[in-house]
Symmetry: C2
Subunit: 351 residues, 2 copies
DNA sequence: TTGTATGCGTTATCAG
DNA sequence: CTGATAACGCATACAA
């Protein structure tokens, strides 16, 4: 693969045939005699011939590789998704090229240029928290690059999207807190510009409203970098603790934020009331064993990866009309920790 | 990138130049007049020209992409390593193609063929637990494919290797148990064939010996699939609990095994004595907040990825003689949880 | 300073 | 049934 580089030409020369004959024999073309075929096949096997995929790509104008752009690979949710993506890609003979934005628009843009210039056949992406301008992505999409969004989607772009039922997940989470006696529930969330933020906060608010708890916007904190900067979550919690009326529980709307809050509560770096409730979206391994949180909303990350990849491959291989886009909504799972109800009665209503 | 595909030819035609002139102008060749250069550059920018990297690869016989093969992406240790790999690759203009073996030799082989036939410029790999025959890898290496091993290395192959100080990590871990009063310390480990297993068990045994604790081979359990199969770890623990003399602590030699044991201990799916000690290698987020384990041996996964990639790029770009191979040994970190000493005095020595 | 021709490895088209 | 040739997009040795 580096030095030797056996090519069709070598085979042709050795066997006294033309390259076209060899090429056809290798592809088992009907217009080649069985004897020649066998001859070629056997020799090719013997000298361990492998077609050069780069030459193939150049000819076929496809690379059989897909790009994956996420904010951070070392985030359980995303690594689980990539796991699912790889598994489908592998089964279909596609390579997976990964890149991370680290929640930075600049890096996202650069990686995007990089990936597309690398001639990927399609893209699976979850946009960064910083991204507000999606024109570049839109342009790519319009130029014909098959794109599938997952998790953090972009509504304006017409293509497949794979998300979880964020509204319901957040509703369930909030409900769980409410039914455990919490009333003043804060939300630590990603920037408002993200689709998941909107959906999750909507679910959170609906759950509160349905239980006659007034929504207090001062209880909602936005972390501009999605918790990539450690201090950010601390600041959010600190601000909450400085409120005239303390919250009695926190709903963290994303994996990174949940683990951030968890760490704060457990390490007591900031002094937080002992009975502070916590629930959050999280796919981090073992989080469900921790105490807090009260419970965890888990996303079917692996499945999301699988679904997204299947859709992308359909797009690439145009198995379905490129205009017939759909949004797949998978359901989240509320992992309930029975033993963790810290606040039990708390019948004194407030607000 | 899909439909339009602006090529050098288009520019040449539009500007009434030859393709070679355009090519040279774009590469800022000294033999092109400033005016022509400016003309070409500007037009190229205007119509948003990007060279086709596939054509380039075919010509230059390099793809500017590196392959990464690990057993499982959704394992914190590996995803952190990939994070490091991506970061260095990104800075050097390389793409990262990932694949996972899922601890299966077959998948490893297939992926290897896949990656190499994809014309990667180099490979970073941590072999699967199942792999016992490294001839294919050796062959690749001898054919000239730059390879860097990390974590689970292959001694027989002469190339760069990046590992952590497994011996010391295991020694420290075992010592920590010993100094907390544990005496009958079991080991739940990966297959013996892995380099890390040998090194870690050696450290474990040395720590015991140094403290005059007899080594009992029946206390060492090997998980053939590295904990990929859930029941495997349970079986190991069950077997330990059936021993005539119960262990009083477990040393788990790898991330997946540590979390496996942890889950067993916490969920009490198997009834394990309450004061069972546990320590293990783990890079899983938040593991250090759990209680057990007693402590965690953390590997500098991100740094390993960085170091491995730097070495690989040196190999690819032959910045150093290809014969001058080295093994980088990074040090592990023992994260001590002060408050967790379950067994304190236990002065009654045994065995 | 610019243009022409060739090759990278493969397949498709067209002859024979 | 088989072979010569062009083409994919680019870079470069060689001409001019």
């Amino acid at each position: 693969m580096k030095f030797e580089a056996v090519t069709i030409k070598d085979i042709a020369k050795a066997l006294g045939l033309s390259t076209s004959t060899v090429s056809r024999a290798l592809r088992d073309s009907y217009e080649i005699s069985p004897e020649t075929k066998k001859l070629v096949m056997e020799y090719a096997g013997k000298i361990n011939y492998h077609p050069n995929p780069i030459a193939l790509s150049l000819k076929e104008r496809r690379s059989r590789s897909i790009g994956v752009l996420v904010c951070e690979i070392a985030n359980s949710f995303f690594s689980q998704t990539i796991n699912g993506i790889e598994s489908i890609a592998y089964n279909n003979g596609y390579n997976v090229i990964i890149a991370q934005s680290r929640e930075s628009v600049d890096r996202e843009m650069l990686n995007l240029q990089y990936l597309t210039s690398r001639s990927i056949d399609g893209l699976i992406i979850s946009v960064s928290t910083e991204t507000k301008d999606f024109s570049y992505l839109k342009e790519l999409s319009q130029k014909g690059l098959p794109i599938v969004f997952f998790d953090r989607i972009v509504d304006e772009i017409e293509t497949h999207k794979v998300i979880v039922d964020n509204y319901k997940g957040a509703y369930d989470a909030t409900l769980h807190l409410v039914s455990n006696g919490y009333r003043r529930i804060a939300a630590v969330s990603n920037p408002e510009s993200l689709s998941i933020t909107k959906e999750r906060l909507a679910g959170y608010k609906a759950a509160l409203t349905d239980h006659h708890i007034e929504i207090d916007e001062s209880l909602i904190k936005y972390c501009q970098h999605g918790g990539m900067i450690v201090a950010e979550v601390e600041d959010a919690v600190n601000e909450l603790l400085r409120l005239p009326q303390l919250p009695d529980a926190i709903f963290a709307t994303a994996d990174k934020l949940t683990t951030g809050c968890l760490r704060i509560l457990k390490t007591k770096k900031i002094s937080v009331p002992d009975d502070m409730g916590l629930i959050g979206f999280s796919n981090t391994d073992l989080t469900e064993l921790l105490n807090p949180p009260l419970s965890i909303i888990k996303q079917p990350a692996f499945e999301m990866g699988e679904v997204a990849t299947n859709l992308l491959l359909q797009l690439i291989e145009s198995k379905r009309p490129v205009t017939d886009f759909e949004t797949r909504i998978l359901s989240t799972e509320l992992l309930i920790r029975g033993s963790t109800k810290k606040v039990k009665p708390k019948t004194t209503e407030m607000a």
